[in-house]
Amino acid sequence: MDDFFFSLVLAGISVGSVYALIAIGLNLTFWTTRTLNFGQGSLMMLCAMLVVFLASQGLAMALAVIGGLLVVAALGVFVERFTIRPALVASGGSMGWVVSTLGFGIVLQGVAAKYFGSQAMAFPDVLFTTQDYVTVLGQHLSLQYLVVLALSVSLILLLELFVRKTVWGQAVFAISLDPELALVQGMPVRLIILGSFVASSLLAGVAGILSAQIGGTVDPAFGFDLVLFGFVAAVLGGMGCSVGALVGGLAVGLISKLVGGYISTAAEHAIAFALLMAMLALRPQGLLGRPEVSKA
């Protein structure tokens, strides 16, 4: 195995795990409300930008990260309250949330461009530097890639554990199945929905920081590509399925890095979306999505 191939695989897996994180963030709100926050990409960008900004103001790196995450969590509350809830209470189930979450993202991007400039900013080294590596079996493994991979996979596992093993996690799943029954059974549905948007925004923030760390820079348009890849990962794996999101994310990451390395980086998007279309045509429920369980 040559070094070039190997480095592409590691980069692909690492980037893919971030796509999986984004996909799971999308899944979270999909579970509770059947909606997606298309402003997710801008939240990633904003969180990464805020970290750069706060760190440049002399704040300790850990505090800058916490500050960035707090802001996106608060924006998660805003998104739920002002872009999702009005659309959901509208009689007949409005699709308005598609436009309003997208609009929220674009506004956020504009605001970021105004205050931080539209130039790419260098992202500081939060986790090691690009030069740090370990050697395993004669292969140089970038520590940054490894840490990003470990962080996103453990976040995904933690979330999965929460959803499967705790009663609150099960309530999230229950709301996705029958919100009215959840209400009647005394589950605080409103609170859980709000929580899902906050958690989803936090995941976006973490994904933003991790992507910026790998990529080295962040600019106002930075989240858009990421959320597209995250979305492809979610649909590829089966919308709403956590393991599917992980598999989908890794697949998208690997394929896009290999295509970028051996063919052309310009082909990454084309291949990713060709994959999405092929998947939707052949297996609409996704790789690991399950058809409905029911009996009349």
Binding site: L183, V184, Q185
Partner: protein, 236 residues
């Protein structure tokens, strides 16, 4: 005591209830009868907080709960077995029970409560790990009742527990309901299309027609010959 006063329920232009007043005496079984579309489900849904009330009041032990959101009412001890086999179909039997218990009054520890369910309906014990959506109709109804009662409710609303079930299962379900009501002292309100069935187990009955109470009385009197014609007339 569960009281409903001059209740109006409307979905847009459609008025499902137009001034219903009734009471369910504490610790007793009260039947709400009526044909399809008479407003039985709307009444129960309004009581548990998932149907839009446009006028009137709902009182639990004298406390006005009309403005409370559904989960808050559930926490006051209201349990509602909805019509249409409403279960979390992808979740297992056990998970359905656990969720219902977790957000209920938690009268007894979970393990004990589940053991009680299994003793009452052994088939639910055997199928504990089966997704609820794969149970037979009768088993689903047993699970729905168990999910409602495992919450240790003070008020139990049952929407058409006999719907679509074989007569022998209906008997079993009704035996459970009467036995449960007597043992626990829970106030029960049953909406039912099969009038005689519900009147036999209840203390008091109300007949709804087009969103209004058209007949009410002690169940045995409604059952007795004199009212049979009236009853029948109101179903047509």
């Amino acid at each position: 005591m569960l009281e409903v006063q001059d209740l109006h329920v409307g979905y847009g232009a459609v008025q499902a209830l137009q001034g219903v007043t009734l009471g369910a005496a504490a610790g007793g079984i009260t039947a709400v009868l009526g044909a399809n579309g008479a407003g039985k489900s709307s009444l129960l849904r309004a009581i548990s907080g998932i149907a839009p009330v446009t006028q009137g009041r709902i009182l639990l032990d004298g406390r006005d709960i009309t403005a409370l959101p559904a989960p808050a009412r559930a926490r006051l001890g209201l349990a509602h077995a909805m019509e249409g086999r409403r279960l979390f179909r992808q979740l297992t039997v056990e998970d359905n029970l656990r969720l219902a218990w977790s957000f209920g009054a938690r009268g007894v520890p979970l393990a004990e409560a589940i053991a009680e369910v299994h003793q009452r309906f052994p088939i639910l014990g055997q199928r504990a790990r089966t997704p609820a959506g794969l149970l037979s109709g009768g088993q689903q109804q047993m699970l729905i009742l168990s999910c409602a009662t495992i919450r240790s409710p003070r008020y139990l609303l049952l929407d058409e527990p006999s719907l679509g079930l074989a007569p022998i299962i209906v008997q079993q379900i009704y035996a459970f309901i009467t036995d449960y009501a007597r043992r626990s002292g829970t106030t029960v309100l049953i909406a039912e299309q099969m009038a005689t069935l519900a009147l036999k187990v209840s203390d008091r009955g109300y007949v709804l027609r087009r969103g209004r109470v058209v007949l009410e009385g002690r169940s045995e009197e409604l059952l007795a010959g004199g009212s049979e014609d009236k009853l029948a007339a109101n179903y047509l």
